[in-house]
Structure formats: structure tokens, C-alpha cells
């Protein structure tokens, strides 16, 4: 991927990693909500912010990904641990996060296009 080298830093690569992770987060949240009535189901979360933050401090983004972890919420009366209010809030949060990341990419590409075309 050559775009990062055009900007001289790792920020575009960080945005790409975050986009993949937030998209996966939306998928995992939808899966949790779909199983709100499944007895014995355990909900998961996607974790990537800590890994990404440490990798940015090191300056090396080659092996950064995201991981799926157990949510660990209390078991409810339906026999699973899906907290519907929290999952809905996660959907809202990750939707806004994803759109903000896409806006960042678009903004960077606009700057690049202006530099290339002079307009």
C-alpha cells in the first residue's frame, strides 16, 4: 500500500486498521443482538484500541489487528449474557466511529488530489 508513504507517516495505515476493526465490531454486535433469546449464548466484543495505540507509540504497524474477546456481562434471566441496551449503544457508537473514519480517508484523498491536480 503506497498511500502511507505519500504522507510520510502511519496515520493512513492506522485508519485502515481501525476501519477493519470497527466493521468487525459492528458484525459482532449484530451477532450478539441476534442471539438475545438464545439460552447459553455468550456475547463477545472486539478489542483493538489498546493494540493500535501501543503500535503507534512503537511506530510499527505491521502486525496490528483486532481480537475478539468475551464480553463478561452478567448472565440474565434468559440464560445468556446479552445486555441489549449496551449492544444498541455499541451499534450507535461504532456506526458513528466508522463514518468518522471514512470522512478522514475522504479528507486525506481530497488533500492529495488538490496537491496532484493543483485545483
Amino acid at each position: 500500500m503506497t498511500i502511507p508513504s505519500l504522507f510520510g507517516d502511519n496515520s493512513m495505515r492506522a485508519v485502515e486498521i481501525a476501519l477493519d476493526a470497527v466493521a468487525e465490531r459492528q458484525r459482532v454486535t449484530s451477532h450478539n443482538i441476534a442471539n438475545v433469546n438464545t439460552p447459553g449464548f455468550r456475547s463477545s466484543r472486539v478489542a483493538f484500541e489498546d493494540q493500535l495505540s501501543r503500535a503507534l507509540q512503537r511506530g510499527d504497524l505491521d502486525d496490528v489487528g483486532f481480537s475478539k474477546v468475551a464480553a463478561g456481562t452478567p448472565i440474565n434471566t434468559r440464560g445468556n449474557d446479552v445486555a441489549l441496551e449496551q449492544e444498541t449503544a455499541d451499534l450507535i457508537r461504532s456506526g458513528i466511529h466508522y463514518e468518522a473514519l471514512v470522512n478522514t480517508l475522504n479528507h486525506r484523498f481530497t488533500v492529495l488530489r488538490t496537491a496532484i491536480t493543483g485545483r
Binding site: 445486555a83 449496551q86 444498541t88 450507535i92 457508537r93 458513528i96
Partner: protein, 133 residues
């Protein structure tokens, strides 16, 4: 960044836990036991405001569930299969009027917290529009 969203969700969660306890109490409003046994006791949810280390507010959480410690009414009901040799049964410690009032409070606060979530989401979406043409 999403502080208001988390706070509203904490309010909705506590309201939902309250509604769970209320429906359990209402479902057991006629659960008698033999006289002399421990009665069914209504469950009450104890919640407290959440404070961060520096004193900023952060929503609400459930700290425990306690039972109504009131006196169990003993009534004369000889036809009841659970009645003892004197025809007495222990009725549950549930105040149905209080429970129905609490149900209105809990469901309204659940709805109020969810409408806060809606408003806060619209506000964050508006922030994304800054600088766009």
C-alpha cells in the same frame, strides 16, 4: 467521547433490572407458603449514582438486591392444600399497589433514557457534518 451515551445506557439498564424485579414480585403476588415457613418476599433493587475518581458524574448502577423485610401476613385458608392443621397459610410480602406504581416509574424511566440515547446520537451525527459541504 461517548460519555452521554454510556450514561443513558446505564440508566436504561438499571430501569430494566428494576422491571425484572417488579415482574417477579407481581408474578408471585399469590405465592403462599405453609404457616411458619419463610414467606415469599418482594425484591427491591438498590441503585446508586456513579462517581468517577475526580468526582465527575457518570450514570447509575445497581449495588444490590434486598428483600422486603416486612411482617408476613398469616391468613386463615383451610381449603388451601398448603394450610397447616389450624388452616393457616403465610401470604407473600408483596404490596401490589406499590409494585404497579413502581412499574410505571421503571418503564417510564426506561423510555426516557432511550430517548436520551436518540438525542445524543443525533448530536454526535451532527458533529460529523462539521466542515462538510
Amino acid at each position: 467521547m461517548f460519555g452521554a451515551l454510556d450514561i443513558a445506557v446505564s440508566g436504561a439498564t438499571v430501569s430494566r433490572i428494576w422491571m425484572d424485579a417488579i415482574s417477579d414480585n407481581v408474578a408471585n403476588t399469590n405465592t403462599v407458603r405453609p404457616a411458619g415457613e419463610e414467606p415469599f418476599r418482594a425484591r427491591l433493587v438498590v441503585a446508586e449514582a456513579v462517581r468517577d475518581g475526580d468526582g465527575t458524574r457518570g450514570g447509575v448502577r445497581v449495588t444490590g438486591i434486598v428483600e422486603n423485610e416486612g411482617i408476613a401476613p398469616v391468613t386463615y385458608d383451610p381449603a388451601n392444600p398448603l394450610a397447616d392443621e389450624n388452616g393457616l397459610v403465610t401470604r407473600p410480602v408483596v404490596d401490589i399497589g406499590q409494585e404497579m406504581t413502581n412499574l410505571i416509574l421503571a418503564s417510564r424511566s426506561y423510555e426516557a433514557n432511550l430517548s436520551v440515547v436518540d438525542r445524543v446520537r443525533d448530536a454526535y451525527l451532527a458533529a460529523l457534518r462539521i466542515g462538510q459541504r
